[in-house]
Subunit: 376 residues, 2 copies
Amino acid sequence: MKLQFELQKEEKNTKARLGTIHYGGKIYETPMFMPVGTQATVKTLSPEELKEMKSAIILSNTYHLWLRPGEDIVKEAGGLHKFMNYDGPILTDSGGFQVFSLAKPKDITEEGVTFKNHLNGDKLLLTPEKSIEIQNKLDSDIAMSFDECPPANASYSYLKQSVERTLRWAKRGKIAHQNPNQMLFGIVQGGYYEDLRKFSATETVKLGFDGYSIGGVANDHESKENMYKAFSYSTTYLPKEKLRYAMGIGEPIDIIEGVIRGIDLFDCVSPTRLARHGHALTKDGQVNLKNAKYKKDFTPIESDCDCYACKNYTKAYIKHLINASETFGARLLSIHNIRFLIRLTEEIRESIKTDTLLEYKEEFIKRYYGENYGKK
Amino acid sequence: MKLQFELQKEEKNTKARLGTIHYGGKIYETPMFMPVGTQATVKTLSPEELKEMKSAIILSNTYHLWLRPGEDIVKEAGGLHKFMNYDGPILTDSGGFQVFSLAKPKDITEEGVTFKNHLNGDKLLLTPEKSIEIQNKLDSDIAMSFDECPPANASYSYLKQSVERTLRWAKRGKIAHQNPNQMLFGIVQGGYYEDLRKFSATETVKLGFDGYSIGGVANDHESKENMYKAFSYSTTYLPKEKLRYAMGIGEPIDIIEGVIRGIDLFDCVSPTRLARHGHALTKDGQVNLKNAKYKKDFTPIESDCDCYACKNYTKAYIKHLINASETFGARLLSIHNIRFLIRLTEEIRESIKTDTLLEYKEEFIKRYYGENYGKK
């Protein structure tokens, strides 16, 4: 059963879109935040908890599952859904980002990327065909083309060559793709250059994919302006009827700005990573529960939040768990933080319905980031 | 609402007993295994999961909660039940065992024990009164008297003095006790000496407690014989209508032998600790999921187990999680291991009902430990 996307509405004042995803007899709405389950588990959480917090698509990492336990074991288990007991939609990345960021590539050639396995130091080669083969075996619902992920500060000439190579790799991956139940997305790269993004998007669309991802936007934390430009430069040239996914983006304002520029899907490890460090996302900004002021705070993280953590536990208790290095603390904060981002997308969808997304954005920024956000 | 215990039946062939505990409108049965939530959380698990695996009383550690977050914070939160969101019965220990094992006592005097806080090295004094005061504030349902926990190899003369001191401490604690909703247990010590156990039990009973614990049996892993003797030497002199609790005992055979000798309550950190190391308890013995042979084992840990882990996940998946240091693996194994010990007590109770506990024991040993168990 292949996942189906339908565009339902475009906002009047922005490029924001409402959409529906039909999958396994259920309907999910976009824009959507997708929690990350790197190693076939969203850290500390059960599939039932993910469903309770209304998560839909979750993401898992091809690179990690390739190295451990290995795609053949996942295939023998009946695919990733059965292996990890999650019957909602699953998206896998191509492994490219990890090869470039985590494994330190030894050599990038036309064939693919040679790199060191970060677990045991073995030399390995990841190619467009291999990435697709692994994802075919994992049997995710949405697979990614293998792309080169150049550093944010790469030169124009390097990026130009890289975009061209990513296109050739996308083509090879498309030919190698053999799982009829799995969507395959093309990836738009091109840094912050309008002409490169346009070229990358236009040519990738010509190859014809089930959806399109925007890569190369998550590495650069220096300039949000650039990130948002890259969103616009990309989505402008993408077909309306296909899903668009901004890879690795999960900061609340970036989700909102991404939606405004026509993006449907977002993912990020931040909600669970922040949780492990004792940080909670709230409408009034991020709070650090390690702070002494929460010692006797017997109120929930957010009194109007409907998550399991907020309905049952106080900041003082969660703070205690985090201080005592008790996993249940990270679990409660992961539940809250993921639910926070999912609630954010629920509110975004409501504001698209009423064509009030820009007003929502202003309101959200004021509370979350403060009155002076964006002012120099 | 004070917890109520009722003795329901004694087995024909052993000293095993069936009992019921009335608490919060619910009825629980003994013999019972109590999971340990050292720092106001049973590691990795939620209260809902504990209930799903039919756990009843859980144990929490006075020493740990005293140091962090502090008993006053727990009291302000409305007591331990509210703090950790567990509405089943909670038992707290006295802090004695931790002071003697974890904190390395500097000085044992008639007043109490001076020791080093294991978190920050501060010098602290724990007295019988202080232990009770802390437990009163934690508002557990069953509190323990503060006892001296001498090493297993202590001399007869030391043990004799120690038992006498423990009696004086028990008396002081009883006077200090001020929580009308909380049971207070006395503790029987005396090593493996029949006369000391008899003296300790008889004199502690004279002081009049709501139940009785058997201490000093968990430290010695060398001689099970000695442990079982200490059980018998103690329970022989305890009133039938009161609960009896073997502190820190959770090895399956020790639970069975304890029940045979008239013990009702058991606790141990082993099921969650084993889980974190990838070990699963099964009827056919303990298995280590790190073992390569489980790599492609797509069957549950135990096919006839009704726990969440066995109903939804394979050994191959849990092995992957453990290998990848994913917390969800420890969580699934904790669920299974605790449920295993609770199922063990369910089966023990069934066999008491039909007066077949000794047969059950033989059968259990054969499968779990093998034909040659106990043979030299």
